[in-house]
């Protein structure tokens, strides 16, 4: 009995030591809505957008709001932010709140929310181009503990704004699909022709480059067509924004790379295409693949060799003399 109690206690102590413990006192939790705003605006016009900032922490937070411009993004649509960056058109933006201004601290009580009323006024003389900014809301500390040794944390949450200043509703977009290839190892390539096994799923990667001066959206389909021009597979492209002069990876609607699982019937030449349609342009990239039953043929060949070997061995067995 004593032994059981000892083991149980030991287990409980072990669990208590090993399990991670999170401090439940002060924490940081912030939410911003909407996380993305896409705006088409003509010079001389203004718009207002309300942002809801929610303090999910269990204590009051002092925050500061700011606008940070960006011009670059990675292949997944994440802006490359530099808080020190500035731009002359930042003056287009202002907060219409009576109490809250950019770069001035404001408080949100624990469990409460605050609205930031963002105003964008584009002057008549504004150049016709895209401007990209992130509205950031950061924690604010103005006290410094001289005895502190370590890292102080600043948490920021941001919402991206992709703004097209244009006198046209649908300014010209120039998209180009690049790197539309099957994953390495699954295919044999001869020139521009690919050969693949007819029962092995194939994954495809591709990127799209926006060579234009305005952001565009990647709406389209991944299509597989047989040699008889009969569509055999269709999958949507995840609609995402691609900012001017940038590149993005194309993904399917589940956020994964494109995948085609051929069946036994998919033998022979097939054409795979990625098609993106914007409001005023189309772009397509195609690859040709010949599916053939490689694995099946190898299986049959091996089976045949085994059978032939068995027959040969059997036929070589000497007959017993009578």
């Amino acid at each position: 009995m004593t032994k059981k109690i000892f083991i149980t206690t030991l287990c409980l102590i072990t669990f208590a030591i090993l399990l991670p413990k999170h401090v439940s006192a002060a924490n940081y939790g912030m939410s911003i809505s909407p996380p993305l705003l896409r705006v088409h605006i003509k010079p001389g016009k203004s718009i207002t957008q309300v942002y809801k900032i929610e303090n999910l922490s269990n204590n009051d937070k002092t925050l500061v709001a700011a606008i940070v411009p960006f011009t670059e993004s990675d292949n997944f649509g994440n802006p490359v932010l530099n808080p020190k960056t500035t731009a002359p058109w930042l003056s287009y933006f202002s907060l219409a709140n009576s109490e809250i201004k950019f770069n001035k601290p404001f408080s949100i009580p624990a469990g409460s929310s605050e609205q930031l009323i963002l105003s964008l006024s584009v002057p008549e003389t504004a150049p016709l181009k895209d401007i990209y900014v992130t509205l950031i809301v950061s924690t604010y500390e103005n006290s410094l503990d001289q005895t502190f040794q370590g890292s102080a944390l600043r948490a920021t949450i941001g919402s991206n704004l992709l703004i097209t200043i244009s006198s046209q509703a649908y300014p010209d977009t120039i998209l180009r699909i690049e790197g539309f290839y099957p994953a390495k190892g699954a295919v044999i390539r001869i020139g521009n022709l690919y050969f693949a096994d007819s029962i092995t799923p194939l994954k495809f990667t591709a990127t799209v480059t926006n060579e234009g001066n305005f952001a565009a959206e990647t709406k389209g389909v991944f299509r597989v067509v047989s040699g008889k021009n009969k569509p055999v597979y269709l999958e949507g492209i995840l609609p995402v924004n691609i900012i001017a002069k940038s590149q993005r990876q194309l993904l399917n609607t589940n956020g994964d790379t494109f995948e085609f699982s051929p069946s036994l019937g998919n033998i022979g030449p097939h054409q795979l295409s990625l098609e993106i349609k914007t409001d005023n342009s189309n772009t397509t990239s195609t690859i040709d693949i010949i599916f053939f039953p490689l694995k099946l043929s190898l299986g049959l060949l091996i089976s045949l060799l085994i059978i032939i070997s068995i027959i040969k061995i059997t036929s070589k067995t000497p007959e017993k003399s009578t």
Binding site: H22, M30, I32, S151, L153, A155, P239, V240
Partner: protein, 470 residues
């Protein structure tokens, strides 16, 4: 004389009685009252067509938005996820999601022959009809007949496909009456429009409910067509050709009460009534959830296990207080990051420090950012860092805690934070390419100082920024 008058009166009375037997008086049909045909669902059926680029092997279906002949359903407004559809004429598919007015997805891929341009798409709405009314007169041992509007072509009116001018008979619908005082019903008889005994009035399906009993005046009667399971029901109409969007199509039904031996095709009913029944598209209830991104930072106690380390200090959401350092010895700390977003492109969390851990109180001195064991790691290249001696510095790593975010660097590899002072760009430490629900990761800090480090308090500021991707 008096007897003569009495005899004359008796004779006259006898004549009246005899004549009343020989020439019965006419009875005029009265109205059955409070008559209703309550549908289990007033939902219309769907009769539409597949449109290109729908293809076999895909779950994505496009529909025509222009009507043609009997294909009058030109919007997905009448459909909802979970509906069972006939596509291509034979095979059944379940709707997975409605994309927009002319697109939806199915839970299984379309078979060959079901995805060709103009292939049919049907949804059969199979509501039970419950017909209620009050009798006007007592008709002993008679029968009620309910007439439901049907397509004018008998073959079309009973082919198991939704019609646009009436209810489809659907082969074998059930009919039943609920017994009540004066009315004990036998099983109802259903006859498709144009069938035996169901030719007049034309273009109506007939449902007869025979009963025994004396009948009654003002008795509440309940009759039904079909059942609540929809297994023996007539099919509700698809939108009529003249229908205006979002308005109901109304149809006239009739209820008649006949005496027992009447031929309902030719006889005049004792009582009858005419009513209206209407069908309309289902109302798809939708709710909008505002897009948002949520970012949380929580401290982790000392002694906790994170990133294959046991932490030495307790952190908060706003600080990582390493405190007093022993020479050539690691001190570890951790924080928990949590991100959720319903933005379709996902999110990213970046990190950057304002500068190295600095002591600005006296003469400027710094604890270096780690270059790891092999002097190979920097702010965007990780490497192993297991030895404190001769590898002094400040660095970090990450480990997934929940719901599989993409993270970098990952333990046991470390790197140091990019520095604003050195004009380096923020580094992406945590991300996801689609919607994310409570994705969690530990960010673990490690610090080591050597004997050459001047005494003093060193600090810096790390900024974590969470933004939705676009």
């Amino acid at each position: 004389m008096k007897n003569r008058h009495v005899l004359q009166c008796v004779f006259a009375l006898t004549l009246v009685l005899i004549s009343s037997f020989l020439y019965p008086s006419f009875s005029f049909a009265a109205n059955l009252t409070v008559a209703k045909d309550t549908l289990q669902s007033s939902r219309m059926s769907f009769s539409g067509r597949v449109k290109s680029p729908t293809i076999a092997g895909s779950t994505h279906v496009w529909i025509y938005t222009t009507a043609a002949t009997v294909f009058t359903s030109i919007s997905t407004a009448g459909l909802k996820p979970g509906d069972s559809l006939i596509i291509g004429g034979t095979n059944s598919y379940t709707i997975a999601s409605i994309i927009d007015d002319d697109e939806f997805t199915t839970t299984t891929v379309l078979a060959a022959g079901d995805a060709d341009d103009t292939d049919v798409i049907y949804f059969k709405s199979l509501p039970q009809h419950v017909i209620t009314f009050k009798t006007a007169s007592a008709v002993p041992a008679g029968f009620f007949r309910v007439l439901i509007p049907a397509d004018s072509t008998p073959a079309t009116a009973n082919n198991g496909i939704p019609d646009i001018t009436g209810f489809d008979f659907n082969t074998t619908p059930a009919a039943a009456g609920t017994n009540t005082t004066g009315y004990t019903f036998s099983t109802g008889v259903a006859t498709a429009s144009g069938g035996t005994g169901c030719t007049s009035p034309a273009n109506y399906h007939c449902f007869e409910y025979h009963y025994i009993g004396a009948g009654g005046i003002g008795t509440n009667i309940t009759l039904s067509i079909g059942n609540t399971a929809g297994s023996a029901n007539i099919i509700a109409p698809a939108p009529s050709a003249s229908r205006v969007a979002n308005t109901a199509d109304a149809y006239t039904f009739k209820i008649q009460n006949f005496t027992n031996t009447s031929n309902p095709n030719s006889a005049t009913p004792t009582d009858d009534v005419t009513g209206k029944v209407a069908v309309i598209e289902s109302v798809r209830v939708t709710a909008t959830v505002d897009p948002s991104i949520t970012f949380k930072i929580e401290g982790v106690n000392s002694g906790a296990s994170a990133c294959s380390l046991t932490t030495d200090v307790t952190t908060t959401n706003a600080s990582v207080p390493f405190g007093v350092m022993a020479l050539d010895t690691f001190k570890a700390a951790a924080q928990l990051l949590t991100v959720s977003t319903n933005a379709v492109s996902g999110y990213v969390v970046t990190a950057i420090e304002n500068s190295r851990l600095s002591n600005l109180a006296t003469s400027p001195s710094y604890i270096p950012d780690t270059t790891c064991d092999n002097n190979l790691c920097d702010f965007d290249t990780p490497d192993t860092w297991a030895t404190a001696a001769n590898n002094a510095g400040f660095g970090y790593t990450l480990a997934v805690v929940a719901n599989a975010p993409t993270i970098a660097p990952t333990a046991p590899n470390y790197q140091h934070f990019p520095s604003l002072a050195d004009l380096e760009s923020p580094f992406q430490i945590m991300s996801n390419t689609t919607i994310a629900s409570s994705q969690q990761a530990h960010v673990c800090y490690k610090l080591s100082v050597d004997a050459t480090q001047p005494a003093g308090n060193y600090e810096n500021q790390i900024t974590y920024t969470a933004t939705a991707s676009f």
